[in-house]
């Protein structure tokens, strides 16, 4: 019993999700009609982007 995703899978998932969220937060920043916490959305997107960078660094130092 092990987690079925490798570090490269997680890296890909993080990258795709971060791109989606960053694009969404950029598009929403100018809109006043959508009432959500835009700062929170941007923070999550940035956190995912940083997560992706960490996986990249891990793969640089430990190539599989």
């Amino acid at each position: 019993m092990r987690f079925p995703l490798s570090i490269s899978d997680i890296s890909l998932w993080l990258a795709v999700t971060a791109v989606i969220l960053l694009t969404a937060s950029e598009l929403l920043s100018s809109s006043t009609d959508v009432v959500i916490e835009k700062k929170g959305l941007r923070l999550v997107a940035l956190a995912l982007g940083i997560g992706f960078m960490i996986t990249v660094i891990v793969r640089v130092f430990q190539p599989i």
Partner: protein, 308 residues
């Protein structure tokens, strides 16, 4: 006797009719108010729950999918699980903010200006009035107990445009009515807004230079508070020119409201900016003049510094 009795009975009948006619609408009003309150609270509940419900709908299958992925060693289930759990968590985290209609803001500010108009009218101040935003002493400066009132931001509405300022002792006493020079001291209408700006933006305006304030305040107000569509703040010789396009307080300047104090005090947004200028420069700031575009969309205000 019979006449008197019949007279009394008529009176009592009239009273009962009157009381029933007044009671009925009162009861209806109360009932309607209760219904409105109930529907309002239900609406709030529905709005509040919705993001949580969506979060649960995403997060629970996501977690289950992750567990099955680990048990069955399935990659696709793991991707699905990760995605669902993440979006579920995002719905918990990025919840809708409670917004109010902008028209409510100016209607709440209206009473303050009407009150000041009434006070000024009652005190029989004639001619052109002027308001002076008096900068407060910084919070970290020690002042003796009898001068603590100097730490409050106030605006002095002078009955005479070219009159002197009240003495420091009188200002420190937190007096309202002044005889020499004639005028009144009130809290600026935009003080609450300014405190909110400082709190949310985590900046101490007293530490900024005027040029820094003119550069940094308008974009911060637009991006964080959306109080207008466009704000310009330019320093000119001995004054600051403010240009606000499509302010949420623009209705206060309309002719239908006919508020006089709005022109010498400024709307809450202008007042907050005047307070910020006074705090930054440490000088008295007077709303020298204002100009409203014919369509009411653009408000231009000139704030002049004067030495105290």
């Amino acid at each position: 006797m019979e006449d008197m009795c019949s007279g009394r009975t008529e009176e009592t009948e009239d009273e009962t009719v009157e009381s029933t006619t007044t009671q009925y609408p009162m009861e209806t009003i109360k009932q309607l108010q209760a219904e409105a309150e109930n529907s309002g609270s239900e609406l709030r509940k529905a709005r509040h729950i919705s993001s949580w419900k969506i979060g649960i709908v995403f997060a629970v299958p996501g977690a289950l999918s992750l567990i099955f992925a680990i048990l069955n060693d399935s990659q696709s289930l793991a991707f699905i699980g990760l995605g669902l759990t993440f979006w579920g968590a995002l719905f918990f985290f990025v919840r809708p903010i409670r917004y109010v209609k902008s028209s409510l803001l100016d209607s709440t500010a209206m009473s303050l200006y009407s009150t000041i108009d009434r006070i000024v009218k009652d005190l029989k101040y004639k001619g052109t009035l002027a308001s002076y935003y008096i900068p407060p002493y910084p919070k970290d400066v020690y002042l003796p107990e009898h001068l603590r009132g100097l730490k409050d931001m106030i605006v002095f509405i002078s009955a005479d445009r070219n009159a002197d300022m009240p003495s420091i002792v009188e200002v420190a006493e937190s007096k309202f009515l002044f005889e020499n020079p004639r005028g009144i001291c009130v809290a600026p209408p935009g003080l609450g807004l300014l405190i909110q700006f400082e709190k949310e933006l985590r900046i101490d305006i007293t530490r900024l230079e005027l040029s820094e304030l003119c550069e940094s305040l308008p974009p911060l107000l637009l991006e964080n508070f959306q109080l207008a569509k466009e704000i310009e703040m330019k320093t000119e010789k001995n004054q600051v020119h403010l240009k606000i396009v499509d302010s949420i307080y623009k209705n206060l300047y309309s002719r239908e409201e006919n508020l006089k104090s709005i022109h010498f005090l400024g709307c809450p947004l202008v007042s907050a900016m005047a307070c910020a200028i006074a705090k930054t420069t440490g000088k008295l700031v007077k709303i020298h003049r204002d100009r409203i575009s014919p369509d009411g969309q653009t408000i231009e205000v000139w704030c002049r510094f004067t030495e105290g």
